[in-house]
């Protein structure tokens, strides 16, 4: 190998290394390059169990049809998406809307 070929090889190798380093730097600053997604950070200590118990509170073989006998049944208010045309009460609230309710 003469000097010229050695120089070409070194320049090529340098380009490869610098390109890889550049890509790594870009990925780190943009949230890439992690083994997992970024928005898991911070959830381990105090967000891991928002339900306060293992999610087998009622499950584990219980027949969902027997829900009326579930221990929590009587404590629940109406939940979920309201029926369209629901009864909107615009009076007595702190943040009255000026269009008389949402356009259901």
């Amino acid at each position: 190998m003469n000097f010229r070929s050695l120089l070409v090889c070194l320049v090529t190798l340098g380009l490869v290394i610098s390109t890889s380093a550049f890509l790594s730097a870009c990925s780190s600053s943009g949230g890439y390059g992690r083994s997992s997604i970024h928005y898991g950070v911070g959830y381990g200590g105090y967000y891991g169990r928002p339900w306060g118990y293992d999610p087998v509170y009622v499950g584990g073989g219980i027949d969902p049809d027997s829900g009326a006998d579930a221990p929590v049944a009587s404590q629940l208010p109406e939940m979920g998406m309201p029926d369209y045309g629901g009864d909107m009460d615009m009076g007595g609230m702190d943040m009255d809307m000026d269009m008389g309710g949402f356009d259901w």
């Binding site: 969902p64 208010p77 939940m79």
Partner: protein
């Protein structure tokens, strides 16, 4: 000639190594994917536009949602991320907790569309909330921040680069979101300032009331005082199903749990709260497809 062969082999080796490094790097980078593939999508501030499940077992969670809800998945990032579609349209993503997170119980995180993530993050701090993850870009997805409201509920604020999806209306797609909190008034004040919501009071079937937050004359989420003991403030996502009883039974068979079964008294006979096998809690609501 000898030099030519040597140089060629050397170059090929170097290029091969570079290609290998690039491939390895690409494999570890999740393909986040857009929240809508509609080229004409526009921004819809205030809308709950996306749901992310963070969990310790992406594959197990994906199998569950595929088997029960017919979601299709594309895995990336060494299986640390799965992008889900329903009937060809983006529906959700599942991501692994970072390796330094000890607890791996699944958690669904709702995303609220905002006009300006950085400005919204500043409002979060001014209104007593806290920033869990500072605003950051996810290429292909948009700019986001994860925050905690003053009552303790975690939610993501997102400005999607490709616009926001329209309401789905599909069975097995997202239907609604509900904020459970111990301080409804404080939560309403916070989201009014941060997400531009207004709220209305709705009478329920038992004579009680609850709040619905919305914007631009469109309701987006309800707010109720946390009704169950030992539950921290949380955004609860609702999936639309055709038959809540049948789906709850399928979930039990698939290794999931039923936390609150459908009720027989009529008030919540169309609703169940369930969990996937990795602990991700969500709700089912029975609604006919639009």
């Amino acid at each position: 000639m000898q030099f030519g062969k040597f140089f060629l082999m050397k170059s090929l080796l170097i290029l091969g190594a570079a290609g290998f490094l690039t491939a390895v790097q690409a494999e570890t980078i999740p393909d986040y994917g857009p929240i809508t593939t509609d080229a004409s999508a526009i921004e819809r501030p205030g809308k709950i536009v996306w749901m992310d499940l963070v969990t310790s077992d992406v594959r197990a969670a994906a199998k569950f949602y595929r088997d029960i809800f017919n979601w299709q998945f594309k895995f990336s990032g060494n299986d640390s991320y799965a992008y889900a579609t329903l009937n060809g349209k983006p529906v959700a993503s599942i991501a692994a907790y970072d390796e330094d997170v000890e607890s791996g119980e699944g958690l669904w995180i709702a995303s609220i569309s905002v006009e300006d993530v950085d400005a919204a993050a500043r409002r979060v701090k001014n209104q007593g909330g806290s920033i869990i993850e500072a605003p950051e870009d996810l290429p292909g997805r948009g700019r986001y921040t994860v925050i905690k409201d003053p009552t303790g509920a975690v939610v993501m604020l997102l400005r999607a680069s490709g616009g926001d999806p329209q309401s789905g209306g599909s069975v097995n797609g997202w239907l609604w979101a509900e904020l459970w909190t111990d301080d409804v008034d404080a939560a309403l004040r916070f989201y009014e300032k941060v997400a531009g919501y207004r709220s209305v009071t709705v009478k329920d079937g038992s004579g009680g009331v609850y709040q619905v937050m919305g914007r631009d004359q469109t309701p987006h989420a309800s707010v109720i005082k946390t009704p169950l003991p030992d539950v921290e403030p949380i955004w609860l996502p609702y999936l639309r199903v055709e038959n809540v009883d049948a789906t709850a039974k399928e979930i039990l068979k698939a290794g999931g749990s039923v936390i609150v079964p459908p009720q027989k008294d009529g008030l919540n006979d169309d609703v169940a709260i369930v969990a996937d096998p990795t602990g991700g809690v969500f709700a089912l609501q029975q609604k006919e497809a639009e």
